[in-house]
């Protein structure tokens, strides 16, 4: 399974490369700075829930295999206070993202940068402290 997931990531450009980040404890409890991932896919679900917002993105590789990524964002309140609304992230939208994979479960990742369907960078609240 892990190998397949890496294949998905490789297809989009990278796998298991070292990102020179200095993460705070909370980040390293769940996520691995040595697992940067990037992909483009279709949002299947957006959860404006606590303690973290989540978006689920279906990514299809060149063989047609679909992997669902569970991306953690900030809290809904943090995102809202920065001016983002439910209209900006919707199921069915195509987005690109960079993220860091979970220490134990790669596809449970924390989002770093998200590019919305209309090209805007989603700067609402993503989760890689330095």
């Amino acid at each position: 399974m892990r190998k397949q997931l890496c294949a998905v990531v490789v297809a989009f450009g990278l796998c298991c490369l070292t990102a020179p980040l200095v993460a705070h404890h909370g980040f390293e409890l769940e996520y691995d700075k040595r697992k940067p991932v990037a992909a483009k896919g279709v949002i299947s679900k957006v959860e404006w829930t606590n303690p973290h917002m989540r978006i689920y993105v279906d990514v299809t590789d060149e063989k047609g295999e679909v992997t669902s990524w569970n991306l953690e964002l900030g809290s809904p309140n943090s995102v809202y206070r920065r001016g983002w609304t439910r209209e900006d992230l919707k199921a069915g939208d195509t987005v690109s993202f960079t993220a860091y994979g979970g220490r134990e479960v790669l596809t449970r990742a924390v989002a770093d940068e998200i590019t919305l369907a209309d090209g805007r960078p989603f700067t609402g609240a993503t989760g890689v402290p330095q």
């Binding site: 020179p20 705070h24 404890h25 990037a38 973290h52």
Partner: protein, 304 residues
């Protein structure tokens, strides 16, 4: 310190994205520098200026310097209006550092120091949506509510956007004493009074279940705290905090915290922590409290 957008990190990220675009035919917009809309406070707040407004999983804006320097607002009876909302002003990641002490200065008894050193951050009760206790403050807004009845000040409530977990910290302002042998709770039994413009709160009856910080600094049910709040201007709420716990500390100690006001147009929002808490799954952590419940994991040595 290297950052994701620093000289090395930025090159790596851009290179990676370049590869992504090349292989995937993607049109990823490499973000230009994001204009920082307003200053804010975030968790693990070591975020470089060029990433402010962009990173930080939890983030709360603060009032501008011009607003913060304004006069202390007052209520109809002349008392300072302590309502806020505020962010910060308590312990979070390390109570010694957060409270202005030097490393090792908190006079922990040996058993308590040993326990703190053994505790793992992944087992922090707060991660499982329990109340923060006192004097902890996470990077979310909180406010003080000064309630009155026809007889005058009656109660003061502390409302934390995230960190109450269904509890309500209430401070009795009607002159009543502490009950004898109270049932231990996350926020204890608090009685308060005004000393001039300072609000003084005395609290006993805490349980031993919350951690003072994510390092795991422990306390016992003998914890006794005295908080002295003052608001010297619009943007600042200072807390002189006396910490006494003969079960875990060799002597009382005073810490100092300072909260910052949010912009005037900000309010608290709903935050139900347990509605979708997936902590631990990505990192492979197990909730050790499912069977034993929360609370000190060691016997407190008998006092001499």
């Amino acid at each position: 310190m290297r950052t994701a957008t620093g000289p090395e990190g930025g090159a790596v990220v851009k290179n990676l994205l370049g590869v992504v675009a090349a292989l995937g035919g993607l049109a990823i917009t490499l973000g230009a520098q994001v204009t920082v809309p307003v200053e804010g406070v975030g968790s693990g707040a070591h975020v470089s200026p060029d990433r402010l407004g962009k990173l930080g999983t939890d983030w709360t804006p603060v009032a501008s310097a011009e607003v913060a320097d304004g006069p202390t607002p007052r209520l109809h009876d002349g008392k300072p209006d302590l309502s806020g909302p505020w962010v910060g002003g308590g312990s979070n990641s390390d109570i010694e550092r957060d409270g202005g002490l030097q490393p090792g200065e908190l006079p922990l008894l040996p058993w308590a120091r040993d326990l703190r050193d053994r505790r793992e951050e992944a087992n922090e009760p707060y991660l499982y949506c329990t109340p923060m206790g006192v004097p902890r403050k996470n990077p979310y807004p909180w406010r003080i509510v000064q309630a009155y009845t026809a007889k005058g000040p009656s109660y003061i409530f502390f409302l934390h956007e995230n960190g109450d977990a269904g509890a309500h910290r209430q401070v009795f302002m009607d002159g009543r004493p502490h009950p004898r042998n109270p049932i231990p709770t996350w926020f204890g039994h608090s009685i308060g009074h005004w000393d001039g413009d300072a609000l003084v709160i005395d609290t006993v009856g805490y349980n031993d279940k919350f951690w003072f910080d994510s390092m795991g600094t422990p306390h016992t049910e003998q914890l006794h705290t005295i908080e002295r709040y003052s608001r010297p201007n619009y943007g600042t709420l200072n807390l002189e905090f006396t910490l006494e716990d003969p079960g875990a500390l060799s002597r009382p100690v005073q810490l100092n915290f300072s909260a910052r006001a949010l912009p005037p147009d900000q309010d608290l929002m709903e935050f139900v922590c347990s509605e979708n808490n997936q902590f631990g799954i990505a990192g492979g952590h197990t909730n050790i409290y499912l069977e034993k419940g929360f609370g000190l994991e060691v016997e407190v040595p008998a006092q001499k």
